[in-house]
Amino acid sequence: MTVDWIWSNLPRITELTLNHIGLTVIPTILGLIVALPLGWWAHRSRRSYPAIVGAASLLYTVPSLALFVILPQILGTRILDPINVVVALTVYTISLLVRVVADGLNSVPHETVQAADAMGYRAWQRLVLVELPNAIPVIAAGLRIAVVSNVSILTMAALLGIPQLGTLFTQGFQLRLYVPLVTGILLCVALAIAFDSLIVWLGRLLTPWRQKTVTA
């Protein structure tokens, strides 16, 4: 019965999983892209730090279901458009990452920044070549939380009929079937672990100088 259900629904499960991957990855990347300048701004201007970081974290308190349904009004999109979900998850990602980026940049040792200045780096060179690479461990840690949360929050979109792994929950519920429910939960956890490991791996790849100190 268990295997039967999975086997007979395999194409559907695959499709839902692929949708889930797309709807998780795109907002996470978009969110990072937006959070970088905002976080940098909060890092640069100490006066605006509380305002930017505070406003960003406030966005996280808007419940996902509400955001999914309010966004069409703001964006002028159609109510079943996956864009609404993409924007909602992007907002959550920004909300999490702005503080992380700002704190990551703040965590770069003062001496390192001064050394860069002494070497004649321009402000943007120092940012791209010194500060950002040094902030990668902190940003990667935040990104891990963001992507794992996104995998889970996305399932709420099933209540709106946007197909992804959460669809298995609502269907399993309506039919009182455990197999789709458990399959959906396990796939979500597996996706989360996969994304999490991917970011850890990318983080290591991008900070080769840390490798030695970490293993030592």
Binding site: T61, V148, M156, L159, F169, R176, C188
Partner: protein, 245 residues
């Protein structure tokens, strides 16, 4: 009906499904879930922080818990419990369990990280003064852990309050009712009102936490935790000076 009219309609402010009642119910579920999480996570966090045992396992489990999809877990628990749990509890128990699972990781991590981060010099000083292990834990490490522990409780509370909306999916009351009913009834104002009430509630709680933190964290610690921030103005001033030149 516009959003403003919805809020001004006195009918929405009274009765079993009025705003005050729904906020009350929402806070009730949240409080139950938070209390259970504290009961479980704080002692465990103290044990881990104190002994250093099981930290790796717990960190791994905490991360895995975050990946568990709330909605899936909620309906799974409901289906599992519905044949065995009688009456109203069959809706309440899955909701509270799901919320507790969300809330435990931040509190747990905050507690043991806080204890481990306690200033070793302070701990050594206490030891030198003849404090026993338990006294060190109680009088030095725990107060030192308070800021991190509080920040764990804060993020748990916000998660609980914002996730407690899913209770409505199982037919329970709470602010999620406005959102789900508004959607099902095609009543946008009701739904947006629910979202705004929820965000406002979260904001008030956030401010309350800041106030509580000021009140109960030792002033000495507040000064030291603020000190590293001093780096920021120097970098910022340096940066401003650089761009100006």
């Amino acid at each position: 009906m516009s959003l403003l009219e919805w809020f001004l309609d006195p009918a929405h402010w009274s009765g079993a499904d009025g705003i005050p009642m729904q906020i009350g119910v929402h806070l009730f579920y949240s409080a139950v879930a938070l209390a259970l999480s504290l009961l479980f996570a704080v002692p465990l966090g103290i044990y881990i922080g104190f002994t250093g045992k099981g930290e790796g396992i717990v960190a791994g489990i905490a991360n895995a818990l975050r990946a568990l999809p709330t909605l899936g877990l909620l309906v799974l628990l409901f289906l599992l419990l519905s044949p065995v749990v009688p009456g109203q509890l069959v809706y309440g128990i899955p909701t509270v369990i799901v919320l507790v699972l969300l809330a435990v990781p931040p509190i747990l991590t905050g507690t043991y990280a806080g204890i481990q981060a306690a200033d070793t010099e302070a701990v050594n000083a206490a030891r030198g003064m003849g404090y026993s292990q338990v006294q060190i834990l109680w009088f030095v490490q725990l107060p030192c852990a308070l800021p991190l522990l509080l920040s764990g409780v804060r993020s748990s509370t916000l998660q609980i309050v914002s996730t407690a909306t899913v209770a409505a999916y199982l037919g329970l009351q709470g602010l999620g009712r406005f959102i789900l009913d508004g959607r099902a009834q095609g009543d946008f104002s009701q739904m947006a009102a629910g979202a705004i009430l929820l965000a406002a509630l979260a904001l008030i709680l956030e401010l309350a936490f800041i106030a509580v933190g000021r009140l109960i964290v030792s002033p000495g610690l507040q000064r030291t935790t603020r000190a590293p921030r001093k780096i920021v103005p120097t970098t910022a001033t340096a940066a401003i000076r650089l761009t100006a030149s």
